[in-house]
Every structure is written in C-alpha cells, then in structure tokens.
Amino acid sequence: MNNTPKTTNKQPGLWGYLRRNRLAWTGVVILGLLYFCAVCADFVSPYSYLDENRDYSFCPPTPIRLVDSDGRWQRPFVYGMTMGFDRDYRRVYEIDASRKYPLRFLVKAEPYKIMGLIPGSRRLFGVEEPGRLYLWGADSRGRDLFSRILYGGRVSLFIGLIGVAISFTIGLIIGGIAGYFGGKTDEILMRMCEMFMMVPGFYLLLALRAVVPPEFNSVQVFVSIVVILAFIGWAGLARIIRGMCLSLREREYVMAAKAMGVSDFQIILRHILPHTLSYSIVAIMLSIPSYIIMESALSFLGLGIQDPFASWGNLLSEAMGIVQIKFAPWILLPGLFIFLSVMSFNVIGDTLRDYLDPRLKAENRNM
C-alpha cells in the first residue's frame, strides 16, 4: 500500500519503447511503407497490374543508369531491350543502347481511383512508351513485377487485417460470454470452439473454398476467402479470452458493478473485455501473419485470388517451375515481401508483449 503519489500514465511509453527497440522500429517502418504502397499502389507503381506486353515476357530488370555508353553523366534513364532467341530457343534480352528512355516523374497515365475513392491520373515515376521500365523484371506476360507486387500487397496485407478483425470480434464476443456466465453456457460454447479447432485448418480452408461458387467474381472470392479464414480463426482466441474472463469476473469492481445493478451485457462490454485488451492486441499482431500466409498458400495453389488480379501468393505461383526460377529468378521477389511483412508483425507483436508484461511494466513505464 503505497502512500507515494504515482505519475499519470497513459500510453506514451509505448511509442517510445517501440522506437528504442531497433528491431521493432524497423518492423514498424517496413509495415508503414508496405501499407502505404499498398494503398497508394496506383500512384507509386509505374504500371497498372493489368498492363502487359508479350514482347517483354520474362524480361530481366532494367537498371536505371546515370552514365551512358560514352561515359557521360545523364539524367536517369533506361535503355531499350530487344528480345531475341538463342540456339536453345530460349529467350534472351539484349540491351539496345541506341534507344534511351529518360526516367520521368509524375508521369501522366490512365486515370484511376485510389481505393475507389480518390481520383488521380499521375504516377510517381515511369518512362515514355515504347520504353519499358522493369525495376524488378517482368512476369510471363510482360507485366511489371514491381507494380504487381505493390498491387498484390493490397490483397495480402488487407486480408490479414480484415480477417483478424472479423475473427477477433467473434472470438471476443464468444469468449466473453462463455467466461462471464460460466456453467452450461460456457460448456456449450467451448465444445463448439473445440470442434472448430479440431479440424485441420488448411484442409477446412480448402474444403470451404471448394464450396464457393465458381461464378463469383474476384472481389466476391476475396471476401469469401476472408470470411472463411475468419471462420476458422476465431476459436483459439475465444478460448483464451474465455479463460481471462473467468478470472476477471471475480474482480471486485465487477462485483461492485453487479451490486449496483449494471446489466451483464454492460459489464462484459465495459469492465471485462477492455481488460483483455493487452493480451488481445498482442494476439492480433501475432495472428495477422498466419492470415497472410494462409492467403498466400491458397492463391499459390490457384484457389485464392485469380489472375489477372495480383496477390503475393498468386505471384509466387509463377515460380513453380525450376526453369522459371533458373532463368527468371526475380519472380521469387513476392516471397521476400511475404517474409518481410510476416517478420515485421511478429517482431512488433513480440515487442508489444514484452512491453505489456506486468513484470517489466514498472521499469518500462519509468524509462
């Protein structure tokens, strides 16, 4: 029982703590960048995800040069590429130094709407036709991989967020009700939970995906995938929330609220669930990666997002053959992005968990 006054303390410590932890801060920066690019993909990428050119199938990356063949300094530019075939009928690309395409910024392009809301018609950078800028190479249809990756981020990154939002909500509600009421309600809800957890997740995913009608357009497929993922993901969280609620309902402020006559619903909503937040936030951070990977796996197998839409998973499906990997290794790059985003979420989640660990809390807050 301390008689010393304590300082007011909300959450300013969290941001500072994250910044001080270099690994976590890197994660924050990476995620911030990825999400920004995903949202503003229309602007940041030089091409739309649909923009294809069969003349440039599997074209290697076109480096941006500053010095031309005569050794003179120039504004950044790109050489043209010509496609030829070698003796084994394999494609070979040669640099055509005669064609120079300067790099332009705020290039005019086809009009688009960011996230369907904000209209625009310029892109951050690009080259004039007929030059092609392939920062990270092209895929089989000559579509710019860099652009496709940025657009693909939309699907992969947001499926994680939306899926988690849905399953988190379901898990909180069910866990909260089961934990607070206990008894028969608890038993029934938890058995339900266990049934969901029993079924191997990935196979359930495939089975549910098979049930989705084939005539669904891509957006509908996207939504149904999110729903399916959320459907199988809520059980684990619900169990843990239920455990926390079982002990939280014994707290004296809950009894005080009951004694005053506050309704059960209000008590769960305002007194019990907010106290599960510290655990829940960490659980969310650490489960978003599994959604990203699930979606990638589905799309990789051709069951998720379909061509021509991009997602990191279905971009990777192009890399299924050894021939492609040997001769066009850049198509593995989407994998790097999956890795980066998953790692970032994990690192931030871990750091959050350390921050919220009650034992470290006192020291962290004072720092």
């Binding site: 029982m1 301390n2 008689n3 010393t4």
Partner: protein, 259 residues
C-alpha cells in the same frame, strides 16, 4: 551482542529525493532476545530486515553502514559465497506469505530438506528424519503427511509453521520474521506467536520481529524500534515505550491498536 546494525542507509539507485529508503538506522539484538521493528508501511522496516540478509532488490544500494553479526564485523562486505553459508544456517528468514515463499511444485518436505542438503549434507534418511523432527517441533501433528504435501494442500497456519520449521532447521542464532502473522486469522496468529515464544526459550534463538501491529510487540517482544520514513524515531524496552511513548508517531501507532 548478536546483531548490530550501525548507521545503515539505503537508497534507490538513480532516484531523486524520494529515493532515500533508510537513513542512519541503528538496531541491535542480544542473544535470546525478541526485538521488534515497528512502523507503518513504507517506514523501511522490511528493507532493514532484507538488508541484514543481503536480499535487497537489485535497484537498491547500501550507501553507508555496517552490519555486525556474531564474530563477523560486517556482513555487507562479505563475499557472496560466505554470505550464502550464513543465510539459512546462522540467520534465517520467515516471510509474510508462506504460499509464495514456498515453491508450489515441490513438496514441503523436499524444500526443507534442501536447507540441510546445502548447509549440512548427510544421508537422505537422516535428513528426512531431521526435517520431520522439526515439523513436529513447530507443532504440526502429522509430520509425515505434511512432509509429502505440497504447499497449496496445507492450511495457512500449517504453511506458516512449515516455513518456521524451515527457518529453524539449521538452528540459527537469529530469525528475521517479516510480518509472519499478518495474513493469518487471529486465533492462528496467537498460536504462532506462542510458537515463537517457545522457540526462544527452548532453542535460544533471537528473533527480529518486523510488524505494524504494536499489540503483538507489547505481548511478545522485549525491545522495540519504532520506524518512520526510513529512520528509527524511538526505541527502548517494550514496556517503557508503551507506558510513555515519547514521539508523536509512536503515540499515534499506540492509539491505533488500543482497545
């Protein structure tokens, strides 16, 4: 003189003004005495006890003072290995909450055996019979059953007795008891206090009794040190301090426990 704490000052590492926990504390304990450290929470009494055992929080630093014990001029300067030999065998501690002082996954008997294994290793059989002997001495009727029980299986009173058995195992000269009865019911408390009195008589052990309850002090302790905000504000024979408390703080404490 068994224990002499001289001019002990402890502060929080790197803290500001509020960081001085103890200032110039002087406490002494004679062989066979029961001495009380009394004060409200935050007065520094527990810190003093922990300082003797050198079990202070890592964030606290002793800035001055000496703690003489038996023939050791200063416990604070002893190398850690030597201090470990003293802890548990010459000076031992009884804590307030026996449930957290015992490891919940080990039986009580095993944990008391550990004291012997560390300080006076002998055959397992012999150690076990010694432990059971002590369990009986502290008034536990079914020593054999309690030996194989886990801490949570015992009642609060039994647990506290088991902890006292653990403290007495190596027949220390000094026991530091930090609020050992504060979590217990009144009737259990009376029995534990009686146990302490018995132990003092039969084992000739001295007790440094840390508490906030002056009533216990009057009943059990020979001398008392009253602490407030890290300083000893009054000291003397229990009887004298109770008859005529000099400090206002002591008077307030007395009034709080008067009936």
């Amino acid at each position: 003189m068994l224990l002499t704490i001289k001019d002990l000052s402890v502060r929080v590492e790197g803290g500001g003004n509020a960081a001085q926990i103890l200032t110039g504390v002087n406490v002494s304990v004679q062989p066979g005495e029961i001495v009380a450290l009394v004060g409200a929470s935050g007065s520094g009494k527990t810190t003093t006890g922990l300082a003797v055992m050198r079990l202070l929080d890592p964030g606290l630093r002793v800035t001055s003072g000496q703690i003489g014990f038996e023939d050791q001029p200063d416990l604070l300067t002893l190398p850690p290995a030597a201090m470990r030999r003293i802890r548990g065998s010459r000076i031992s501690m009884v804590f307030q909450d026996p449930l957290s002082a015992f490891n919940p996954v080990l039986t009580v008997g095993y944990q008391i055996d550990e004291v012997f294994k560390y300080h006076a290793p002998e055959s397992g059989q012999r150690i076990r019979s010694l432990t059971e002997g002590w369990l009986e001495q502290v008034g536990i009727p079914d020593a054999r059953r309690v030996y194989s029980s886990f801490p949570h299986q015992l009642s609060g009173g039994m647990r506290q007795r088991a902890m006292i058995a653990m403290a007495m195992a190596m027949q220390p000269r000094l026991i530091i008891a930090d609020e050992p009865t504060s979590n217990l019911d009144v009737t259990l408390q009376a029995r534990i206090l009686e146990l302490f009195q018995q132990l003092r008589k039969t084992q000739e052990v001295s007790i440094l009794f840390i508490t906030h309850d002056l009533g216990i002090v009057r009943h059990l302790c020979d001398r008392v040190y009253v602490m407030n905000v890290g300083m000893v504000v009054e000291s003397g024979k229990s009887v004298e301090v109770f008859e005529a408390p000099k400090e206002e703080y002591t008077q307030k404490l007395l009034k709080a426990v008067s009936v």
